[in-house]
């Protein structure tokens, strides 16, 4: 009797184990799965103010979160159909590869090793924030540039390109330093504030966000040197062209909407205007009244309307979370439209 009681769970366990290895149906896309379950599983950090940060009411907010919401609006029709997963830096690629999440919108640097099939093999969408690695020091330390850090200790976080960048920058100058590596940004901050390190290093956006939470933010300075280019972009698992294309054009839609002056507020008027004036072909295509741009991506033709209604254009997202009146003000700099002195631009919606 006991034996039979054991046999059933054992056999089913074996079947489940065996099911973990499937070569997958060719040509199927994660996009279909997202649409079928009408819910997007989005990996975020959850610990970076301005990008993805847990609010008092238990929801997430930030630029990365709004990008998730934009994707959800485009793929499922509603920006609220998102399940967020907080992931640490080392966890994120595994979560993506195993299919636990559909896509990642989590301060991830776009670089060759991650993009290439021989590296992490993921597909990046266009850059949503141009960042760079910097160093934060105490104002009272008198450190004003990289050379002053000779022989000093620097707190650094794990699972990122920051360790390599730090090493490259110091080696190029022939300066010695000592890295203390922690697993988590919060530990890096604690180590720095407790005085273990003369400086902490991370992306400048993260330094600005961390500093906003300090007791005396003005007692800490970000050094002028930028150690690296850190273009942060959302990403999906590799080899899924349909999902990657859909993500790419949602991001471009946010940028193009800012170029065209379409905002969350005036989208209704723009839509009416486009419907009543057939000669506005560019606007009609963009809003899905004419042609079938959405369909080509496997989305509804009005996906851009849904996206703008949900989160506004790129500039609106930026101002909401990182603008001068937000809790984490970061000057727009490179992240402005090309026409305004930045480097953002969108290919044509044709």
């Amino acid at each position: 009797m006991k034996v039979r009681l054991l046999a059933l769970p054992l056999v089913s366990f074996l079947f489940i184990l065996n099911g973990c290895a499937t070569l997958g149906e060719g040509g199927s896309s994660r996009l279909d799965l997202i649409k079928r379950r009408t819910e997007l599983r989005c990996g975020v950090s959850g610990k970076i103010p301005g990008f993805s940060f847990l609010q008092r009411d238990g929801s997430f907010a930030g630029l990365d979160v709004d990008i998730c919401r934009a994707f959800a609006a485009a793929f499922t029709g509603s920006p609220d159909q998102v399940q967020y997963r907080s992931l640490t830096a080392p966890e994120r690629f595994t979560a993506l590869r195993t299919g636990e999440i559909d896509l990642l919108s989590r301060n991830t640097t776009f670089n060759l090793s991650r993009d290439a099939a021989g590296g992490n093999g993921v597909s990046f969408a266009p850059v949503v924030f141009h960042d760079g690695q910097g160093l934060l020091v105490k104002r009272s330390s008198g450190i004003s540039n990289l050379n002053n850090l000779k022989g000093r200790t620097i707190c650094v976080g794990s699972g990122t390109t920051t360790e390599q960048n730090l090493n490259d920058a110091f080696q190029a100058k022939g300066i010695d330093y000592k890295p203390i590596k922690y697993q988590d940004l919060n530990q890096v901050i604690a180590g720095y504030l407790q005085g273990r390190c003369s400086a902490m290093t991370s992306d400048r956006s993260q330094l600005a966000a961390a500093r906003s939470g300090f007791n005396n933010p003005d007692q800490h300075v970000i050094l002028p040197e930028v150690l690296s280019k850190e273009p942060l972009a959302p990403l999906a698992a590799g080899g899924d062209q349909r999902l990657a294309d859909a993500m790419r054009w949602v991001i471009y839609a946010l940028i193009a909407a800012e170029e065209l002056g379409i905002t969350q507020e005036n989208i209704g008027n723009k839509l009416e205007e486009a419907q009543s004036r057939p000669q506005l072909t560019q606007l009609r295509r963009f809003l899905g009244i004419e042609a079938d741009l959405g369909q080509k991506l496997g989305l509804n033709n009005d996906f851009i309307v849904k996206v703008i209604q949900a989160v506004g254009n790129y500039g609106e997202i930026y101002d909401r979370h990182l603008g001068p009146n937000s809790a984490v003000p970061i000057p727009r700099g490179l992240n402005n439209l090309y026409s305004n002195g930045g480097i953002l631009t969108s290919p044509p919606f044709q």
Binding site: L17, N18, A21, F93, G159, E163, N167, K181, R196
Partner: protein, 299 residues
């Protein structure tokens, strides 16, 4: 159950285990094909490209990744060996103190064991590091004259300089494991018939001499097996070092995995390294065990 039935059961269990292992290996192979990643260890010989805060042997970021991993392994070994020594000293004295005639000593030992065993190790490590050690002043001070200099940049003990990260991991692991070892020792001492205690006391032997010469030798066969599993626990728990910035094997692997994208290979190496470490500890303990048993036969 008769003999042949028992044999059949063994055959069935072996087949079952082999099937599970086969399926797991098959899963790994199929999933590697699916994601287009073969197993490759070429990256081990490429330059590591990151610095390490402490390394027992000379190391530069231009050295190979394999060398960096070896530094991590040696760092792990260093803290594990030191931890085992310190935890044993702490555990044995606490365990003996719990059977001491001095009531204050007994109470203190019970308090230590009771308190430490209630708190998760990770929290203890974070406490030792962020509160106790990083709370030290940044300028060194010497509470015991020339014996020890302490600051939140490092600790110098009789001229040997330890990083605060190493000190925090060592102290955290030793204090935590010491409490468990104390229980193991107490259990071992209790396994010795009370007549033996009474015998040496009636002979006029001092407590410490009687403990060392009469009770402990008889308690050792009961203590050693449980002690070796505490040592293995200490070794495995040392991977929590990354939480307090110590460059142990896990911390170094963590960096190489994110830099190379070779997660499966990285974890396989980690697995093998820990297997090797624990086999070393286990082997050492078995030798000790056998020596103790042999010496008992001579008596």
């Amino acid at each position: 159950m008769n003999r042949s039935k028992r044999l059949w059961w063994q055959v069935i269990i072996v087949i079952g285990l082999l099937t599970v292992m086969g399926i797991l290996i098959n899963n790994l192979a199929v999933n590697l094909i699916r994601t287009g990643l073969g197993l490759s260890f070429d990256w081990l010989w490429r330059p590591a490209g990151f610095a390490l805060s402490e390394h027992p042997l000379p190391y530069q970021s231009s050295d190979s990744t394999a060398w960096a991993l070896l530094m991590g392994w040696l760092n792990s070994l260093r803290v594990i060996v030191a931890g085992i020594v310190l935890a044993t000293l702490l555990g044995v004295s606490t365990g003996a103190a719990r059977r001491s005639l001095n009531p204050l000593l007994r109470q203190l030992a019970a308090l230590y064991v009771g308190f430490i065993r209630q708190i998760p190790l990770l929290l203890q490590l974070l406490f030792w590091y962020f509160v106790a050690f990083l709370g030290l002043p940044s300028e060194p001070f010497a509470p015991l004259g020339a014996v020890i200099h302490m600051s939140n940049q490092g600790i110098s003990l009789l001229g040997v300089t330890l990083s605060v990260e190493f000190a925090a991991v060592l102290l955290g692991l030793s204090v935590f494991t010491g409490a468990s070892i104390a229980e193991v020792v107490r259990g071992g001492l209790d396994s010795v018939p009370s007549g033996q205690w009474e015998a040496f006391r009636s002979l006029g032997m001092t407590e410490s001499l009687g403990l060392r010469r009469i009770v402990l030798p008889q308690a050792l066969p009961a203590i050693l097996p449980a002690l070796s599993s505490q040592y293995l626990n200490l070794a495995k728990n040392s991977t929590l070092a990354i939480a307090v910035g110590y460059a142990d094997l896990y911390a170094v692997s963590d960096t190489t995995i994110t830099q190379t994208g070779r997660a499966i290979e990285g974890f396989l190496l980690l697995l093998l390294s820990f297997l090797l470490l624990n086999l070393l500890i286990n082997g050492g303990m078995q030798l000790l065990n056998r020596a103790v048993l042999r010496s008992q036969h001579h008596h």
